[in-house]
Symmetry: C2
Subunit: 189 residues, 2 copies
């Protein structure tokens, strides 16, 4: 998606270790006008699919998921990253290994909010090694819900996330796909 | 706001320790259609005020802040709750004592995203003892930004948050104000 690629080139910063900083518009400061265009594009890419609910993960997926949900006419559920007093009752949960810290943490969703047979769209800001996204897929599997697709703002396709999800038979739509960031130069697919 | 009060009575659950669970529409599953009505109402209540940016705090404030920002035509910044590799560069930071756990954690915002002289609206899902909100006020003070107001979805006005903010000279607008939840019966102001 041209609009997002241009914005990444304009405001993104490549840091050591293949880290792309887009905190000025995507995941610390959030440009909701841009999010609205990304949400429209997700709707176009998943046109014709029945979506009952969007599932994302805290914290940086929540904004883009909520704005996108307006185009799908459905609610959003966000998975939490640790046990919390804000969740009571039974939960679906799965361990996820953090790409950045190497630590394992638990991702959980209240059983009340993902039902058997529901059609779920997963949305997140980034896809790299895909550990969190595979965690959300696992939670849907536990619930007996159908993952209709994965919508990603920015994908680093030199990491394994995309392939893993496609191997699981899931439609993956990334709005900007980065092929390489060698020497700080961003190349899109 | 009638719409929100009715929804709380319909779907809210009072738990021990004056905890109101609204996780089916506000802070785990999120009803974005309702959020849109709440955002419109925030805009109405702060009509005539110049708002450059909405500041909220992860995670449950992000959804309502983003949808509201569409009505103000401004970006959102969300404060993070701990040090994170997702923040580099200098930050404004302040300690906040959690009402629920009693633990102290650090709230931080990159200095890039709150500028001196900016007009800031603070938005969050809940206001009880106000510790997090006072943390966001402190961050704006450090930045030299002006807090134009605080917009809250649900306030428990038998706790001290509202008074603390008003004593600091800040306009506080809560869309549903709970007076008491004794014996599990919710009474609005």
């Amino acid at each position: 998606m041209k609009l997002l690629e241009e914005r990444i080139l304009k405001d993104g910063v490549v840091k050591d270790g293949n880290v792309l900083k887009v905190d000025s518009f995507l995941n610390h400061q959030m440009d909701v006008e841009l999010f609205n265009e990304l949400g429209k594009e997700f709707k176009r890419r998943f046109e014709g699919k029945k979506i009952d609910k969007i599932l994302t993960i805290e914290a940086s997926g929540i904004g883009i998921a909520c704005i996108s949900a307006q185009h799908f006419g459905c609610p959003v559920v966000f998975a939490k990253k640790a046990d919390s007093i804000n969740i009571d009752g039974e939960t679906y949960r799965t361990p996820v290994v953090s790409y950045t810290s190497g630590k394992t943490y638990t991702v959980l969703v209240s059983k009340k909010f993902i039902q058997e047979g529901e059609h779920i769209l997963l949305i997140d800001d980034f896809l790299a090694n895909g550990a969190e996204m595979m965690g959300l897929v696992e939670i849907c599997r536990q619930a007996g819900a159908k993952v209709e697709g994965v919508g990603i703002c920015i994908e680093k396709n030199f990491q394994i996330g995309h392939k893993q999800l496609e191997d699981a038979g899931i439609q993956v739509e990334a709005l900007a796909v980065i092929k390489s960031m060698d020497n700080g130069v961003i190349e899109f697919e």
